[in-house]
Symmetry: C2
Subunit: 512 residues, 2 copies
């Protein structure tokens, strides 16, 4: 079976899992029946538990689905503390359904898989040792990768049924009113975790900071919480996004950023009240800086910035250049701290951010998205999941979701080391080319041929270095040559869902 982006899919496996192939990036107008959790009624004035072990014993059974959020990123102390207990208590056959997995969790996940504690995983992504482990066949059942919007959709429609959510927070009261904005271990928006809190049957908060009732603002509400567990230290804010706020000095990144800004300001979407999502990483931050200069020069302000928020974006809010920030996640401590003091920085949950089966997510209102790529092919399909060696080392994040923008720009260097970024066919399709509009590399700007309107506009601009994407692919090939095709076994180690739940690609086990 091949799908519409020409990917061979495992038909038998998909039939068994009741999964359909990807057909279109258009969502249409289905009617969706939502699901709802079971509620164990309690007066709930004091939910502070005796011990984590007791809570796990009272809530968890073999075969259940457990969830975590990744807002602490590499400063997360909650995941390992919970998994240590679960492993020690000998649970088996759990499904792990976090919003994503960060490096600090890798060793523990691998240990849990090896001991049969975890037998299924769905995540936005995985990197490092865990990606290697799964790519080499370490997990029996295929991982399902979902974007942040798709995870919200899957939970809201019942495809992921969370039995117990373990959610680390920097502050809670004894009844479970909690947020991500106060305390030592702030991370700002609780966007992904809000879905778990709303839909899980059992919600367990972990915190090192229990304050007097009532704690407000309450992003997670007492009505959603079953237990509050006190821990010694829940996380380290400085590890949310180490270095993310430093501007790049890499001349190639700076050049790409400047070119991206040229694309933006010459597009029809750059007008008073426009909106954008940038993300983190050197080039993205540099784009924000160039864009700021253009906005000041042109006397324009943005109606909102979306994301994935960094301090340079909250600076624009404070400067009045951005009117609102719609904030599903903070990528650095500066952005996290900003939420408590700037009322224009609105916390949004993952459904509001990007669930495609919704009455309207914020991404649908987005004008401009700047996204990255590990690879992009001549059909504009993007891979943000596997490296040039075919090994899992990435995350969908909001990539498929933000590509709903009216102008979706991919930024990438033409080559990375000895590997081409622009290729004839990506190893793994994550975001379909039909939702990508422009590719910016240091060697030129390629516009998707399905956007003749943009091509026409941009061809009027003298300084834009427009190039056919096939030309960029050839330039890359000239630089690094044609690589040997990768060798895989026949076994599927992961399935990539598109944001509507259809399968856009599979990842096979790499051959050693």
């Amino acid at each position: 079976m091949k799908n519409r982006v020409n990917r061979e899919l495992p038909a038998a496996l998909m039939a068994q899992m009741n999964l359909a192939p990807f057909t279109s990036s258009e969502i249409g107008n289905p009617e969706i029946k939502r699901v709802a959790p079971k509620v164990a009624v309690t007066t709930g004035t004091n939910k502070v538990a005796e011990s984590l072990a007791k809570v796990i014993k009272e809530t968890l059974k073999d075969g259940m689905t457990i969830s975590f959020h990744h807002h602490f990123r590499n400063g997360d102390f909650a995941f390992n503390e919970v998994m240590d207990q679960i492993i020690a208590m000998g649970y088996q056959n759990l499904t792990l359904a976090p919003s994503s997995l960060t490096g600090i969790m890798n060793d523990k996940v691998i240990e849990a898989i090896k001991k049969g504690v975890i037998t299924n995983i769905t995540s936005s992504g995985m990197r490092g040792s865990l990606g290697e482990f799964v790519s080499r066949g370490g997990l029996k059942n295929p991982v399902i990768f979902r974007s942040h919007g798709n995870r919200a959709r899957s939970i809201e429609e019942g495809e992921i049924k969370i039995d117990v959510a373990f959610l680390g927070v920097p502050v809670s009261d004894p009844a479970g009113n909690a947020n991500g904005q106060d305390g030592e271990a702030v991370f700002g928006s609780l966007g992904y975790a809000l879905i778990d809190a709303q839909y899980a049957d059992k919600v367990v908060l972990l915190t090192d900071n229990i304050v007097d009732y009532p704690n407000t603002p309450a992003s997670i509400k007492q009505t959603q919480v079953d237990y509050v567990v006190k821990v010694a230290k829940i996380g380290d804010s400085d590890q949310i996004g180490s270095g993310a706020t430093r501007f790049t000095k890499d001349p190639k990144e700076l050049k790409i950023a400047e070119m991206v800004n040229q694309v933006i300001v010459n597009s029809p979407y750059y007008q008073q009240g426009f909106s954008f999502q940038t993300g983190s990483g050197g080039a993205a931050l540099a784009v924000t800086r160039y864009l700021r200069q253009s906005m000041l020069k042109d006397g324009l302000t943005a109606s909102f910035a979306l994301g994935g928020i960094t301090k340079p974006t909250t600076d624009l809010l404070e400067e009045g250049l951005v009117k609102k920030i719609m904030d599903v996640q903070d990528f650095d401590k500066g952005a996290a701290l900003s939420m408590a003091k700037n009322s224009g920085q609105q916390e949004i949950d993952a459904s509001w951010y990007a669930d495609p089966h919704n009455k309207g997510a914020v991404v649908n209102n987005l004008d401009i998205a700047i996204l990255s790529a590990l690879q992009i092919d001549t059909d504009f399909n993007v891979n943000v999941m596997t490296g040039s060696d075919g090994v899992i080392r990435g995350a969908i994040g909001g990539h498929q979701d933000a590509a709903s923008a009216k102008l979706t720009i991919i930024t990438a260097p033409l080559v990375r080391g000895r590997n081409a970024t622009v290729v004839p066919a990506v190893e793994t399709v994550v975001t379909p080319g039909s939702s990508i509009d422009v590719l910016v590399t240091e060697r030129g700007i390629a516009v998707n041929p399905n956007r003749q309107d943009l091509l026409e506009v941009f061809s009027q601009v003298p300084d834009l270095n427009l190039v056919d994407i096939k030309e960029l692919q050839k330039m890359a090939e000239e630089q690094v040559g044609v690589p040997q095709p990768l060798e895989y076994t026949n076994r599927t180690v992961a399935l990539i869902q598109y944001r509507d739940g259809t399968i856009i690609d599979q990842i096979k086990q790499v051959k050693d």
Copy 2:
């Protein structure tokens, strides 16, 4: 069939409606399966509708359940505008399920009933001409009266399934991000309406003020909204609670208020970080004033005030005497305006406020509630629904809910005109005596015998005029005599639910 408060109930009718008799004010620990709405997927960037009539045509069918909120109180222009259209379009057999019905809606409801448009009603209450009309048999099917917390419970459990919610708001953007805090027609908290927005299959916002996307804070979110309808004028903030902020000069009310304050400050709950709910009305506002003086004198501050909020309470917040306000509804424009500027005034939905089938509502954390009564009997059962003539002229509101407080105080004058307030048996039991602790009248303070602990404490206080409630009842009888028993037909015109959905009493048709 008689229930635990000794009320004769219509067994056949209740069997047919699948309703059980009231047994206890203890809620226990049931496990509840929540329900969820259907979602019609749309990109939803612009939901501004051509006309209200078109929206009604696209969403409404005969026999459906429609809902409204009553946050505008008598300044509501949304209800009549929608009902006018629905009546004109000839719909039949609708169930009307608003959070409550205010006087400004009465004529329209009666017209709709007479024309067969509305055949079922559930509400917190009704007054004036509509109460008379229903009490005299004007509606074929019995009204079901529910407290605010019970309405949330009923919606969350699927006992009330709202097909279309029509929600007036003072501000929205074209995608449906709305709040009650900005615009000309502010009413503050959207507490009751938030439940409709979350659970109704179709959500229609009406507003006179459509602002640029994205509108924040978004109490109602774009993910919940199907249509936004522009109207000429949505409401009048000055009519939310006319006169509610004026302090009473009635010496009897002042005396009762002072006695209530004596009960509070001599109770074991009056300590640093205590919490309270007062409500509106002359005596309640005067209590707030006396309590303020005591708190200043004793150097105490409250952790939170709950309700039903008035300006005197938001003044306490600004003064630092109250740390947080948990706000499900604002009773005057001053309190409504305060929400936008005071971050400590937390908007809470009706479930968070008081759904008894919850993981913990705020009322469960409440120390002291001051509530009113039309009648109270010698078993401390309270009637806030029918007058001394047996006619419907009240509302449960949060009465049953707030009576969960550790110290629930009923304030009432001993008699009103020629009618006793303290009676051998109330006409209609709304709140069971088992959840009432103290009655304060100008002639004395009665403590519920099931609170021997309080009796012991209060009997040590020299100036508290403690009286047995049977004595108060006799004093009242001496003043106004024994009234003729009221005459009713055998027909049930309304059922009163307790907050868990059981039936605590019925209201029969009055004889002309």
